[in-house]
């Protein structure tokens, strides 16, 4: 009997195979590589579902080393597989989105005339395959080092795909920016990985791995002699430093402030790639990593506060920029940054379930929105400016209704999925914030962002689909085929219903916690490999760490415990509705006006992304470059100067001394004989021969 767990490695191997096929023989295949990609991701999806169901039915976690590549006596570096509720859920999400994106790509790339002219499809499908493979392998990684390697591969693939149309001007530059900015964060990540390996001697995630060792030490003070700490640094401080180093990679990949600048530029890539990057692969990798090693973060209050604050700030900050963008993909890009901010906020307040829930919902509704935007773009002959669209509702009903479902989910309108998860994020933040004011500030920013989210989401919907067409392309969009509509329909259904997995306010109200399927799912942890209890990866354990070890206690909200979630859910819902209604009153009219021009200097600052791009360019050219030049001068002048001065002494004396070499043998003999005589005479004088 074949066990699903023994085949988990195939989940990543299949898309990798499709990558190899596309690269080698892709150009001779029908559809130029799309079919192997679809088949491979369908296989991955089936295997992921099988693994998911196995975890569900047996409640088993699975950890296994596939390959040990360094074994140095008690210290080994391995490639391994870890399947637990979190990773099996994520495997299903990633493979599902990757599969749908592959199908959609057939409609977006192969069926579009302009794209056919540009060509390069085998390269495109190869990139998609490798992207899916590296993300899936990242998800089931059993240790931090392996996760880091696939994290880097994901970054490489984003570079390949964002710069897919490399003959144009903008895409290669955007690809380079994405690569460099995320690499800046990954630099800290790498240092953190090395630090964790040195500190704990292992980088495993599961029981016996570094999160468990760290939390066990923080809780009981035991096991200190297995933990290496530099100098006489406080152990908790050192853990916080390690956590922040790893967080650097997370901030880069998940596009959190201040390393978010690459993500809007990444819109230069093909739209299905944007869907893949934003929903399931690249950007999700950062948040997933924090969730994966949450046992490590959960005991460190400083790091948690930083995560929460960055998250809350990013949520608001990105939402404010999404309000003024005119390009449909740019609006979606900023909404992605903002939504990942919510997930970070949730993780920072210990809302592990809320973050995973939002990650799940966001994967579906953001993939849906991007694919919907892709459908609009391909149907209107590559018009992305919302002021040139409008009125698409009549001609593209499938796209409209699925896009609307995604927008309702994004804006957080009940009962669509985004409402339930965003509400849970905010409620978790509020509970912690009632005791710790700093977290309350993060909560307030998150709450304010709800209003902005509702506004920009519906501004986008109304400008794109409502009103009158504002260009002839929008008047007569191209008809779409099943391969674009199918993925939209699947995701539309998912974006509508996945919220039912964890209806916290309802559960509190009726007092039935059995309907919190996701929470119970992430809390399940029983026999691993037919053996021990994997207690260190459960929500209970994390909650215990956050409350008892990190000392973040939950406050009690003003109304009773049963009503509070409903009350605060209603507050965020009314904010979202308020934003949506404001957007409706401004933009759902036959002739909408450009309100951004009226915002004056504030609007200009926001439209230029708070000049952060300019600031980063200035950092590079105005600060780093002069410093580098000064260092260069110091190196060439002082360091090399000292070395050269020393050598010039030998050079000069050698130049003089070599002149005594005449080349005539007789002279040499004379010198030898004279020296011998002098030596003998000297020895004689010292020895007293002549006395």
């Amino acid at each position: 009997m074949v066990n699903a767990f023994d085949l988990v490695w195939l989940i990543a191997a299949l898309p990798f195979l499709s990558f190899v096929v596309s690269v080698t023989v892709g150009r001779w295949l029908p559809k130029e590589g799309a079919l192997p990609g679809i088949a491979a991701t369908a296989g991955s999806l089936a295997l992921s579902l099988w693994a998911f169901l196995t975890v569900r039915s047996s409640g088993a976690h699975y950890e296994n080393d596939l390959y040990t590549w360094i074994d140095a006596g008690g210290f080994e570096l391995t490639f391994g597989v870890l399947v637990d509720p979190l990773s099996s859920m994520m495997l299903v999400i990633v493979s599902l989105v990757a599969f749908l994106v592959h199908v959609f790509s057939m409609g977006y790339m192969n069926d579009d005339k302009l794209h056919r002219e540009k060509g390069g499809f085998p390269r495109y499908y190869a990139g998609l395959g490798l992207f899916s493979a590296s993300m899936l392998a990242f998800v089931f990684s059993s240790n931090l080092l392996m996760a880091f390697m696939f994290f880097e591969l994901v970054g490489l693939c984003s570079w390949i795909l964002i710069g897919f149309w490399f003959r144009e001007e903008a895409p290669p530059s955007a690809a380079k920016k994405a690569f460099l900015v995320t690499r800046f964060g990954d630099y800290f990540f790498l240092v953190g990985v090395v630090g964790i390996l040195v500190t704990f001697g292992t980088s495993g995630f599961a029981d016996g791995g570094f999160p468990q060792i760290a939390s066990h030490f923080l809780e009981t003070g035991e096991g200190a002699d297995h933990i290496w700490v530099p100098g006489d640094l406080d152990t908790q401080t050192w853990f916080s430093i390690l956590g922040l180093l790893v967080l650097g990679g997370v901030i880069g990949k998940s596009a959190q402030f201040p390393l978010h600048t690459w993500l809007p530029d990444a819109m230069e890539g093909p739209t299905p790639v944007s869907a893949l990057i934003h929903a399931a692969t690249m950007v999700a990798a950062g948040v997933y990593l924090v969730a994966r090693m949450f046992g490590f973060y959960a005991g460190l209050p400083t790091v948690l506060a930083i995560i929460a604050f960055i998250g809350g700030f990013t949520a608001l900050f990105a939402a404010s920029m999404g309000v003024v963008k005119d390009d449909i993909k740019q609006v979606l890009a900023y909404s992605t940054i903002s939504q990942y901010g919510y997930m970070m906020l949730a993780l920072g307040v210990g809302g592990y379930v809320a973050a995973s829930f939002h990650l799940l919902n966001h994967a579906f509704f953001k993939a849906l929105l991007f694919l919907g935007a892709g459908a609009v773009i391909v149907a209107t002959h590559h018009h992305q400016d919302m002021w040139k669209l409008g009125g698409l509702k009549r001609e593209m009903p499938v796209t409209y209704y699925t896009f609307l479902a995604g927008s309702l989910a994004l804006a957080g309108i009940v009962p669509f999925s985004g409402f339930w998860s965003k509400d849970e994020v905010l409620y978790d933040a509020l509970l912690i914030g009632l005791e710790q004011p700093l977290f309350l500030a993060a909560y307030a920013m998150g709450l304010l962002a709800v209003f902005l989210t509702g506004f920009y989401t519906f501004r986008m919907v109304f400008l794109t689909f409502h009103g009158e067409p504002r260009s002839e392309h929008a008047e007569h969009p191209e008809p779409l085929r099943w391969n674009t509509k199918g993925p939209l329909a699947v995701l539309g259904v998912l974006a509508t219903v996945t919220g039912l997995l964890n209806m916290k306010p309802v559960a509190e109200l009726i007092g039935n916690h059995d309907i919190l399927y996701l929470e119970n799912w992430l809390d399940s942890g029983t026999a691993a490999n037919g053996g021990e209890w994997m207690g260190s990866l459960t929500y209970h354990h994390y909650g215990h760490l956050v409350h008892e070890v990190a000392g973040l206690h939950e406050g009690s909200p003003p109304p009773s415990a049963e009503l509070a979630p409903i009350v605060f859910g209603a507050i965020s819902l009314s904010l979202a509705l308020g934003g949506a209604l404001l957007a409706k009153s401004i933009y759902d009219v036959p002739e909408p006006e450009r309100m951004t021009d009226r915002l004056g200097p504030v609007g200009r600052v926001v439209q230029r992304n708070y000049y952060l791009d300019e600031f980063q360019v200035w950092l590079a050219t105005g600060v780093t470059e002069p410093v580098a030049r000064a260092s260069n001068t110091f190196d060439q002048g002082i360091i090399d100067g000292a070395v050269n001065a020393t050598s010039s002494v030998s050079l000069f004396s050698g130049e003089r001394v070599r002149r005594i070499q005449s080349g005539a043998v007789t002279n040499y003999v004379l010198v030898i004989v004279m020296s011998l005589i002098v030596f003998v005479v000297a020895v004689g004088i010292v020895g007293g021969w002549f006395l």
Binding site: Q661, S662, G663, A664, T666, V669, L670, V673
Partner: protein
């Protein structure tokens, strides 16, 4: 009657000095070769004299080695002299001064 060992040493020193004198003052490479032979044989005299003095055959054996070595050296030396004459037309050791800085 035996000859005292000092006499041999004086003879050897004299022969050696004649050899050095030849090398320092003459320019002809053939005279060089002959002078080097003289110096080698001065060393041989020493070896044999001490060997006889101590009644130990090792020194004489070494003298035989030196003679063999001298023969080889002459062969190489004459080869060099031949090349010298071909290149410079005469065997003057002060002419080839290329082998320097």
């Amino acid at each position: 009657m035996t000859v005292p060992v000092e006499w041999y040493l004086v003879l050897s020193a004299a022969v050696f000095c004649i050899g050095i004198f030849g090398i320092l003052t003459r320019r002809n490479a053939l005279i060089f070769l002959i002078s080097v032979e003289l110096m080698l044989n001065a060393a041989n005299i020493n070896l044999v004299a001490f060997s006889h003095f101590y009644g130990n055959a090792t020194g004489q054996v070494f003298a035989l080695f030196t003679i063999g070595l001298a023969a080889a050296e002459v062969a190489i030396g004459i080869g060099i002299i031949l090349v010298l004459t071909r290149n410079f037309g005469e065997a003057d050791v002060t002419l080839p001064t290329e082998m320097r800085w």
